[in-house]
């Protein structure tokens, strides 16, 4: 498979993920707007709890989409690698693994960002209400700090994967080739 074909595949996959993210964002905005429409005027104060994280989330998603659509060439170049390797089969395997990692990374970022924003926002709101009323509500019986740490870990993993997870890809390529050689040796001996 030529480098041009690999680049096209990478771009198609990236744009596919971008379209998925766009669709999901559109659906979540629509459902949030429906919630706001049916909210009574007494609960109008609580709308901030939906609108602010949703606004931040939308901005983040727009940034991700911008990167995926406008800089798809940049990303696909990064996935394929700067220089052709000696053997095209190694280049192809590394490319596919890097693509898998980038796609998983984008999904990690896409899944963790909204929860991170909401958790941080709820934590700040709770801190403010605790300061004013002296009481604090803890979500799901778990510390909000634990939630924040959890999503920061997931976001960091997502960034590492979206960057192409070089160590992991190198190890996987090595193991794949090892398995291929082992299998061909077994077939030759039998």
């Amino acid at each position: 498979m030529s480098r041009y074909e690999l680049k096209i595949i990478a771009r198609i996959m990236l744009i596919g993920v971008g379209l998925y993210v766009a669709l999901q964002t559109f659906l979540s905005i629509m459902s949030s707007l429906a919630t706001i429409t049916f909210t009574s005027s007494e609960k109008l104060k609580e709308i901030n709890l939906i609108l602010i994280p949703l606004g931040l989330y939308t901005v983040m998603v727009i940034v991700i989409l911008y990167l995926l659509f406008r800089s798809a060439t940049l990303f696909s170049d990064k996935i394929i690698g700067p220089e052709p390797l000696e053997e095209t089969r190694i280049s192809g395997i590394a490319f596919a693994l890097r693509l898998v990692c980038v796609l998983a990374g984008v999904m990690f970022i896409y899944w963790s960002i909204p929860y991170l924003i909401v958790t941080v926002y709820q934590y700040i709101t709770n801190m403010n209400s605790a300061n004013s009323s002296g009481t604090r509500t803890i979500n799901m019986g778990m510390s909000p700090i634990t939630d924040i740490v959890k999503y920061i870990i997931l976001l960091s993993l997502g960034v590492y994967l979206a960057y192409g997870a070089p160590h992991f890809v190198r190890w996987q390529v090595r193991m794949t080739l090892k398995q291929c050689n082992k299998m061909s040796q077994e077939q030759q001996s039998s």
Binding site: F108, M142, K150, L154, T176, M183
Partner: protein, 184 residues
């Protein structure tokens, strides 16, 4: 194995892994159904539905993971006379990419659940139990215990997938070679 066969097998493999993880969470649903305060008739029905759902999901996942040949043949239809046979190297690589991708996606959920169950392991089952009006705690603890066991199984599967599931891929390769040999 031809290219359409490989693509079909990989898609079915992804579906199979998804269903396998789903069936694991079904076990927790069964224990949750036992915990909820239903009248006996409804409880039996609810538990039966959950058990049936889990068994069906598990059977379907095993079919997709280990005996998907017949479904692949249905999906790909009749193979034309001149079809390029995919080399073993690309079969191994294709399976590895797929299991790796599924493993990474499962890893996300495992990290989420890790932060839920670790306090229970450290502080004991009561750490995560929420109080009901009836003050039931025994079944909640059982739920957490089952949850931890299911989570351990899910972690083992996830790590095996991220490592590339070498034994499973070897088995797939051998079985497809045997089938090619007998011209099924």
């Amino acid at each position: 194995m031809t290219r359409p066969h490989l693509i079909a097998k990989l898609i079915l493999l992804m579906a199979g892994i998804h269903l396998l993880m789903h069936s694991l969470s079904g076990i927790i649903s069964i224990v949750s159904a036992l915990h909820q305060n239903f009248v006996p008739e409804t409880l039996t029905l609810r538990v039966c539905i959950e058990i049936l759902k889990t068994i069906v999901t598990l059977v379907m996942s095993l079919l997709l993971l280990f005996w998907s040949g017949w479904l692949v043949r249905i999906l790909t239809g009749q193979t034309p006379d001149r079809v390029e046979i995919v080399s073993n190297r690309w079969i191994i690589a294709g399976f590895r990419f797929t299991v790796c991708f599924c493993g990474l996606l499962c890893f996300y959920n495992r990290i989420l659940m890790l932060f839920y169950y670790v306090p229970a392991i450290i502080k004991g089952p009561n750490a995560l139990s929420y109080t009901t009006l009836q003050g039931q705690t025994s079944l909640i603890s059982a739920k957490i215990l089952v949850g931890i066991l299911v989570e351990i199984a899910a972690w083992i599967i996830t790590i095996y997938l991220i490592l590339g599931a070498p034994h499973y891929i070897n088995w797939q390769l051998r079985s497809s070679a045997v089938k090619q040999g007998v011209k099924i």
